[in-house]
């Protein structure tokens, strides 16, 4: 063993420690001299806006990235990590934000990848593989995931759970989690936090990042705040407003802007008895100027509802009316063209919304090329003018409109997507989890934008996995369960607790 000197006063050295970390990507400095330390037996939260350097820090600690400068210590011992395997040897394992499972293999195969039980000749023992995986899931309190299911066939939240389980069964001393809850519903978050508490009780060190303050407050022993690639400080029991001020360098009076009451009830979008894959008997009316929330646990038909309304998934039964006119949707094109127009900001903006390598301009005008072309030729001047205006109106921060959309921050990418539909003159916006993985200041901006959009006479159908957000931002909230609308909550009965309660009540009797 090298210089693992006992620290002064008999205090154990931190389980994991980083000093003076610097890391740049191209011209962008992700970390600029960041320090961090977490002890064994503690749950340590990393908070900060997008781009503050949290994910980069986690990647360095997990051995996925090498810092340009600075050092990493495990249990007081300085280690130069050349890859994840070395971090694993020190007991440090990482759960990543982007999913790394192999979609065409089963849950069991993914769980035990590289650690498969072998038979006599060194071949994988398939029956034991399945049994071992089953036992491992059982131990972690996961009962609803079939180890023999293909990863491709299970829901996003379930994949995230498998991702976490895969790492936890390695019995890590230091567990690093990058936004583990962003795709989890309340139920799954509760499961994860029980798991984390168990690890803490066994003296393990857990480091995680999250944008959801109530989660952080409920489980973290200490919180380190990041801003612009460096740590601002580490705190024990800090108020949200204070933390937000430290994260953003400015004070946000209230995260949720006040919601103006709904004036007249003019229906803009009506669904009656809508049924199809994953949804059944869905009916609601969305009015002009209204923000209608859709909540509930993940995997209960929200995504299918949004895709059906947008024409990207066939409705087996029922009617959709926009502005009183019944729609026949054969594809998103019909939805976009249908009188008032329907717009969808899809679940994962990176895979379903934006063309990341293409210019911001191209992304903005993608849905309206018909309108700004003459004889099939895009009118460059008109395009430039329109995109400039919309970028200004939405305050899209980009070096230039010819910059690739992938180079923008998460919040600005969302704005580009919203901008696309504003250019298409969509009056009904279907916003699907647009605040997922977005930092607090940007969330605030998106909320204000949403209010402005409805104030201008549009209507918004808004799905969010964050019940708090729905409760504050929506006139009404539909809670979905098993593909049906289980409850419709309006003020004053509308609260985060009421949404969660309606989402988890006993299963419906058919």
């Amino acid at each position: 063993m090298t210089e693992s000197e006992p620290a002064a006063g008999g205090v154990l050295p931190p389980a994991v420690e980083a000093t003076g970390l610097v890391k740049s990507f191209g011209g962008v400095r992700a970390l600029a001299g960041a320090d961090f330390a977490a002890a064994a037996g503690e749950v340590h939260a990393l908070v900060g806006e997008n781009g503050a350097g949290k994910s980069t820090l986690i990647k360095i600690l997990g051995g996925r990235l090498r810092p340009d400068a600075g050092s990493v210590r495990f249990g007081g011992e300085a280690i130069e990590l050349h890859g994840p395997d070395q971090a694993h040897l020190r007991g440090a394992w990482t759960v990543f934000q982007e999913l790394t499972l192999l979609p065409w293999m089963t849950v069991a195969e993914n769980l035990l990848l590289r650690h498969e039980p072998r038979g006599a000749l060194g071949f994988i023992h398939r029956r034991r593989l399945s049994r071992d995986a089953d036992a491992a899931l059982e131990r972690l309190g996961i009962r609803h995931i079939d180890p023999d299911a293909l990863v491709e066939d299970i829901a996003l939240a379930e994949r995230q759970i498998v991702e976490i389980a895969r790492v936890v069964i390695k019995n890590p001393d230091i567990l690093l989690l990058d936004e583990p809850t962003s795709s989890l519903g309340e139920h799954e978050v509760a499961w994860l936090f029980d798991l984390i508490r168990g690890l803490r009780a066994r003296g393990k060190c857990v480091v995680f990042t999250s944008h959801r303050w109530n989660e952080i407050a409920s489980i973290a022993d200490r919180i380190t705040i990041f801003r612009n690639g460096a740590d601002v400080g580490t705190y024990r029991g800090i108020e949200e407003s204070e933390a937000v001020t430290l994260m953003t360098g400015q004070r946000l009076d209230t995260l949720f802007p006040p919601l103006p009451p709904l004036a007249a009830a003019t229906p803009m979008l009506e669904a009656r008895d809508l049924a199809g894959q994953g949804i059944d008997e869905v009916g609601f009316t969305l009015h002009r100027g209204e923000i209608l929330g859709v909540g509930g646990l993940t995997g209960h038909g929200h995504r299918e509802l949004f895709l059906t309304l947008f024409g990207a998934q066939r409705a087996g039964r029922g009617t959709i009316r926009a502005g009183g006119k019944a729609l026949r949707l054969r594809g998103p094109r019909d939805a976009i063209r249908a009188g008032l127009g329907i717009a969808l900001v899809p679940e994962d903006r990176k895979t379903e919304g934006l063309l990341l390598p293409m210019a911001v301009r191209d992304n903005l005008t993608l849905a309206i090329l018909d309108r700004i072309s003459r004889l099939g030729v895009v009118r460059a001047g008109r395009e430039r003018e329109m995109t400039r205006q919309i970028a200004q109106a939405l305050q899209i921060k980009a070096p230039s409109l010819l910059h690739p959309a992938g180079g923008l921050s998460g919040g600005n990418q969302q704005k580009v997507l919203v901008g696309r539909w504003l250019l298409a003159e969509s009056r009904i916006l279907l916003l699907y989890d647009v605040t997922r993985g977005v930092d607090i200041a940007t969330k605030h901006e998106i909320y204000q934008l949403m209010l402005r959009l409805v104030d201008e006479g549009r209507a918004i159908l808004f799905y969010s996995s964050d019940a708090e957000e729905l409760a504050h931002l929506c006139h009404r909230v539909l809670v979905m369960r098993e593909g049906r609308i289980a409850a419709s909550l309006a003020r004053p009965a509308l609260s985060a607790e009421a949404i969660v309660a309606a989402a988890v009540r006993e299963p419906l009797v058919a």
Partner: protein, 326 residues
Amino acid sequence: MARGSSALARLRLGRDRRRTLYALAAAAMLFVLGEIVHPGFASLDSLEAVLTVASFVGLVAAGQTFVVLIGGIDLSVPWILNGAAILLVTSSLGQNERAPYAVALTLAMGAGVGMLNGLGVAFLDVPAVVITLAMNGIMEGLTLGLSGGLTCQACASYAPPIVQQAVHRQILGAPAELYLWLAVIIIVSFVLGRTRFGRHTYAIGNNLRASYLAGISVRFTTVMLYALSGLFSALAGILLVGFGGQASLGMGAPYLFQSIAAVVIGGVYILGGRGSYIGAAAGAASLTALVSVLLAMNMPDYGRSIIYGVVILVLLLLYGREESER
């Protein structure tokens, strides 16, 4: 050094344009090399000859560019081209008055077969590799069967004189074929860069699902792109008979590998979404220059094949590296 790099920075070349420049620089270097191993190689005459040969690869590569831009590929090039060449001579019988009809028929055949490829990819969800390979086999069978293995009486016909002239006639000191290619370069670049169709093509290549959700008719665009690829293969077939006078069996064989190589050398991303036709055209020029230099060095066939392969692998590795650095 510092001044040089800041000048380069000021140029702010996009990656696509940089790769086009690489390809052109490679062609120029090959001419210098050719002059060294074989004095007289870099003369204007041989430049003209190299570019003329390159133009046929370039035309096929135009079609290949269209489909590679959406992450597809067209392996039916050889026998669409060969079939087109034979269809042209058999339907025109070498007569000028039948030429317009024969050319139109041949182009329609190419576009039609390409469209079938596109329909398979867009509606049946068959991978492009599979359907275009199958189509190549079908076209080979049809061509051989209908022409009786090129033994039919009409098969011995020459290309109509006006088609031959469209390739050979000198205009302002250069063969008409090169003007034709230049026109194709300008038109294809315009279509890809400035039109709605071009924008849709890049969008689909970058993200099919997102394009669909933005209301783009992915299927229509896909079918059109494969039809264009077939059309360009047929056009190359027509001009090749015009160039050589008569059709032969197997004349399309070299164009599959070369068209894909040109596209890759020119910096069109093989998985779609990025690249330009001007790059692919430059790729065709440098590839042909390479072939000519190897010929001048008396490199045997097998040696050329190996060098082709190595060049493509090295370029893919280099471009892949550039990708991950971004």
